[in-house]
Every structure is written in C-alpha cells, then in structure tokens.
C-alpha cells in the first residue's frame, strides 16, 4: 500500500505525554516531602526541623531531650504510622482501581464494585454495635472487617460462578453490595448503643484515626506485593481492555487471568478496608486522573497511579485532621471535595475520551 503513502499526514491529536520514569521520580520526591509535611501538620503543629530531627533520631538510634518527649511521641507514635498508612492505602486503592476498571472493562468501576467493602462493613458494624470480638481490643474492628471481607469475596466468587465475565462480576458485586449494606444498616438501626452506631458510620466513610504501628506491616506488605503482581500483569490488563475475544487471540488465558486478578484485588481491598474503612473516590478517580496524564497503557498507569494515590491520600488525611480540628472529618468527605473539582478541571483541559466516547 505504498501508492498512497504520499498523502499529507494529519496533525497529531494525541496529547504530548510526559516520560513515565521522570514522572515517577518526581512523584517519589513529592511523596517523601508529603510524608514529612503530613507528620508536621496537625492540630499540634510541629516545626519541620524538629520533625526531621526526630525522624533521624528514631531511625539512627539517636537521643532526644526529655523536654521534647511529648512532640517526639506525637511524631513517632501517632503521626508517622498514620501518614505511612495513608500512603499505603492511597497507593493500594489507586492500583486496585486501575486493575478493576480494566478487568471488568468499565470506566465507572472502583475497588468497591465487587462488594468486598460492603461485606467488610457488615463485620465492622457488627463489632461496633454488638461488642463482638471484644477480647481483641482495638483490633476487633479491623479483624472483623477483614474476616467479613473474605467471606464477601467467597460469596461473590461463588455466586458469579467460575466464568467471571465482566458483566456477571459487576452485577454480582453490585447486588451483593446492596445486600451487605442492608445488613449493616439494619445492625446500626437495631443497635441500642447510639454512640456505637455513629462510630460505625464514621468508620464506613474512612478514617485513619487511631492507627498504630501494628497495622502497618500487614497492610504495607499486602499492598506492596499486590501492586508488584499487578504491574507484572500490566500487558494482560491492556489486552483485557480490548475485549475477551481479542485478549484470547493475543494469548491471554482470559478466565484464569480474571480469577487471579479477582483474588488479588479482592484481598487487597479487604485489607485496605479493614485498616481504613471504605475511603471513596480514590479508587475511582485517581486511575482516570493518571490516565489523563500518561495515557491508557497499564505499564505506565500502574507505575504512576500508586505513587500519585499515596501522595493524594496523605494530603487528604492532613486535611481531615486540620479542617475541623480538634474534630476529625471522615476521609471520604475530603476525597470527594478535593477530587471532584480537580477532576472536572483536568477533564475540561484535555480531550479525555471516556469509555468509547
């Protein structure tokens, strides 16, 4: 077909996209800065110099003046684990959102579309309203949420059947989510303990209050391993977003790949919901924001999205602490308030094509 090659070429329509490596390096720097800021900012402000000094002391085994024991405790025991967990949760939700949108081929999907989080909320509200697992103390809520998430995952998997087609998965997840939410609501309304019901609602909207070092290792390792796994499946996700038949002709074992993806994303979601509640918006919008900048190739999206999500949620949590201090706002309220305008702005600036126009 060389005869027509002399035709004038049309002007490139695709937006210029930044190199992914540079973007990742920049985001890593922003992430480090965000961690320090996140530790410094709060109802009790701590000077940046002190934050860096305390962190250095803690990491290298240095000493801190007895007079500074109070601020040091705040930095090391309260703020740092909380900020790091915010980063882990943000990274995890973004990565899971990316994977689920490709896996069910639906731009409106998010980590909660599989019904896992609603399942977890049943466990959490049961603990908050009935005092179940009281022997586990402060871990009762997380443990119950995680166990309930696992149960929900098994139920959705069994109901959807072995053949996890996108539509079956979304419909099953959505239907189950309604069921689980109904049970959670029933528990809240039936509860004689009004304060407990309020706590449960607060937890459902997402919060990192009361986080300790103890919850960090599990969440960080599950999210870390999950993100690494998803990155090895980036090309598969590309193929899956072209349709199951096309993916098959490209050499993907579609049903096995989708089963693996379901298990990994559901486990990640379960852990994230257990440590932080159901933080909305991040898993839906961050993937789109990242695609706006780097395009749809999942090799790029999955490199950038976890970093962007981590930075984003650290600042969301800072806002949750500061805006109504000394009260705390639920994270879900802030993610929506920050994310929606930001998203509209980006969408207007570039010709972003959502799901086949």
């Amino acid at each position: 077909m060389t005869s027509t090659s002399s035709r004038p070429t049309t002007a490139p329509v695709a937006p210029r996209r930044p190199p992914t490596t540079g973007l990742c390096l920049a985001l890593t720097a922003v992430l480090a800065g965000s961690v320090v800021c996140g530790v410094a900012l709060g109802p009790v402000g701590i000077p940046f110099g002190d934050v860096l000094r305390f962190l250095q002391a803690a990491l290298t085994g240095g000493t801190v003046d007895a007079a500074e024991a109070g601020p040091y405790r705040i930095v090391w025991d309260i703020r740092l684990p909380r900020v790091l967990l915010a980063a882990v949760v943000g990274a995890g939700l973004s990565a899971v959102g990316v994977a689920i949108q490709a896996m069910v081929r639906n731009a409106l999907a998010d980590p909660y579309v599989l019904g896992i989080s609603s399942g977890a909320s049943v466990g959490a509200t049961a603990v908050a309203t009935t005092g179940l697992f009281a022997s586990l103390g402060i871990y009762a809520l997380s443990t119950a949420a995680f166990l309930a998430a696992l149960a929900a995952m098994a139920i959705v998997y069994l109901v959807a059947g072995r053949n996890l087609t996108p539509l079956r998965l979304v419909l099953t997840g959505t239907a189950m989510a309604y069921g689980f939410s109904a049970i959670a609501m029933l528990l809240v309304f039936q509860s004689p303990r009004g304060e407990a019901a309020r706590a449960a609602m607060f937890w459902l909207l997402g919060s990192l209050g009361g986080v300790t070092w103890a919850s960090l290792p599990i969440a960080a390792s599950v999210v870390g391993a999950g993100v690494l796994y998803l990155r090895t499946r980036a090309k598969h996700l590309n193929a899956l977003s072209m349709g199951d038949e096309t993916a098959t002709t490209l050499g993907i074992d579609v049903s096995r790949t989708r089963q693996e993806l379901f298990l990994v994303t559901a486990a990640m979601t379960g852990v994230l919901v257990a440590v932080s509640g159901a933080v909305g918006f991040v898993g839906l919008m961050l993937p789109h924001l990242v695609r706006l900048v780097v395009g749809a190739d999942h090799r790029k999206v999955l490199a950038v999205a976890p970093l962007a999500g981590a930075c984003f949620l650290i600042w969301v949590d800072v806002a949750a602490r500061l805006l109504a201090a000394p009260e705390e706002l639920p994270l879900g309220v802030i993610t929506a308030a920050l994310g929606v305008p930001c998203f509209i702005l980006l969408m207007r600036r570039r010709g972003y094509v959502f799901g086949g126009r």
Binding site: M1, V13, S241, T249, L250, R357
Partner: protein, 250 residues
C-alpha cells in the same frame, strides 16, 4: 501452516463443519446471516469451545496447546473490538507483540512495519478512539499482523473500509504468504481474493471449491435466495456476480 476443521459442531449453530486450508492458501467463508460463519471462526481463534469436532493446526488439536502458544501461530481480527480506554494506535498495535518475547527494538520494527502495511503509519500517535471506523479496522489488522502469525483469521476484514482500502487490505493479506481464513460478505471480493470458498448454510458447509465452482446461480438462489448472473472479470477472469433486483424478478 495447515489448518483443518474436522466435524466442528456447536450446539444449535454448527452441525459438523469440515474445511481444510493448506499452508499459504487464502480461504473465504461466505453465507447468509446466521449461517454460522463467525461461530466457526470463534472456534478457530479459541474464543469458543466447540461441543464437537476439532480444529487442527498442523495436525495438532488446537485446544491442547497453551493459549499463548496458539497466539504465536494464529492471529485474528474479531468482531468484538469495543475499547474502553484511550489507547494510542501505537499502543494498540504493540499488543500484537504480547505473545512474543522480542527485544523492544525488534518489537518496534515489527509494529512500524505492520502499521505501514495497512497505510496507517501516520496514525501511530493518534488516540484509537478518535479514529474513523475504517481507520480503526486497519489498525486492528495491523495489530494482527504485528503478531507475525502463520495463520490469519479475519472476521469481515473489509468492514467499514472504503473501496480502495478494501482492495488494499485484501492485497496485503494475500501478499503475506500465510494461511488465511476469512469471513467475507462481499462475494465479488471473495471471488477475487480467495483461492477457495466455502459456503455455509444453517451451520453446514454446503459447497466448497474454487470461486468459479462455488459461486453459481444455483448456489446463490438456494443459499442466498437471490437471482444472479455470473460474468467473467474482463482482466483477471475471476467470476463476478451481477444481481437481479428483487422487484424485477417475480
């Protein structure tokens, strides 16, 4: 590569389809709507498991190979090409390299070559979703070419294409020297570009052979329910069809 369909059956759609395409031959499947053409192809590119019969690639049952190994030998243009996300044309074509383990440099050369073969090199940086139907179709064919297949399965490859690109795409497909199995709606194009044609009707192959043997007024009347005259193409000599308009034949 040698492609053989032996008694291929799918519940209520296909009732024993037999077909043999030798290495490097271009075979066309024609037939009315609902005759099982796409279903036959879906069994060949493994989107569908037949309820009976086998598809043999070089004598080996295709379902015994790993999907990825099949994808190295066989590429397909499917009818299911709904794209949810905003991939660039280059990214779409790059997916054709998925089953292979090439160096990035090799992959890029193959992709660029595939795009220029379908006259789409100038589209590389465009967003796939902003292309016209015909441009998309050419890009999807380029993706199949990027797989460097030995067997090419095409479901209506000339769909959405203007006449010049219809001819060009079929010429490219012929020039590859690979085994081709294509569903074609345009019988005249099928006659011009296929070595052999198979007429499918109600899930069975009712006629197989060279275009001149298959495209006869009787077959067109019995299978397609149209009246047609067969004439010889003045330069190539392949049979071409002239159809009687329905209102003129009572």
């Amino acid at each position: 590569m040698d492609l053989r369909l032996d008694g291929l059956a799918v519940d209520r759609i296909l009732h024993g389809v037999d077909l043999h395409a030798g290495a490097g031959e271009v075979h066309g499947i024609v037939g009315p709507n609902g005759s099982g053409k796409s279903t036959t192809l879906r069994c060949v590119y493994r989107a569908l498991k037949p309820s009976g019969g086998v598809v043999l690639l070089n004598g080996r049952d295709i379902t015994t190979a790993r999907v990825r190994d099949t994808a190295r030998d066989l590429a397909a243009l499917t009818q299911d090409s709904h794209v949810e996300f905003d991939f660039t044309v280059a990214e779409v074509v790059a997916m054709g390299r998925l089953p292979h383990r090439g160096t990035p440099r090799q992959d890029e050369e193959v992709q660029a070559d595939a795009l220029s073969r379908v006259d789409a090199a100038h589209l590389a940086d465009r967003s796939f979703l902003t292309l016209s139907g015909g441009e998309r179709q050419r890009v999807l064919i380029a993706r199949a070419l990027a797989q460097q297949p030995k067997v090419l399965v095409l479901d209506e490859p000339t769909n959405h294409l203007d006449i010049s690109h219809q001819l060009a795409v079929l010429e490219v497909v012929r020039s590859l020297g690979v085994t081709v199995l294509a569903v074609l709606h345009d019988l005249n194009l099928a006659a011009a570009y296929c070595d052999r044609l198979h007429v499918l009707d109600h899930g069975r192959v009712v006629r197989s052979g060279a275009p001149a043997e298959v495209l006869t007024p009787e077959v067109l009347r019995e299978v397609f329910h149209v009246r047609a005259h067969v004439v010889r193409h003045p330069t190539s000599g392949v049979p071409q069809l002239l159809f009687e308009h329905r209102e003129t034949h009572q």
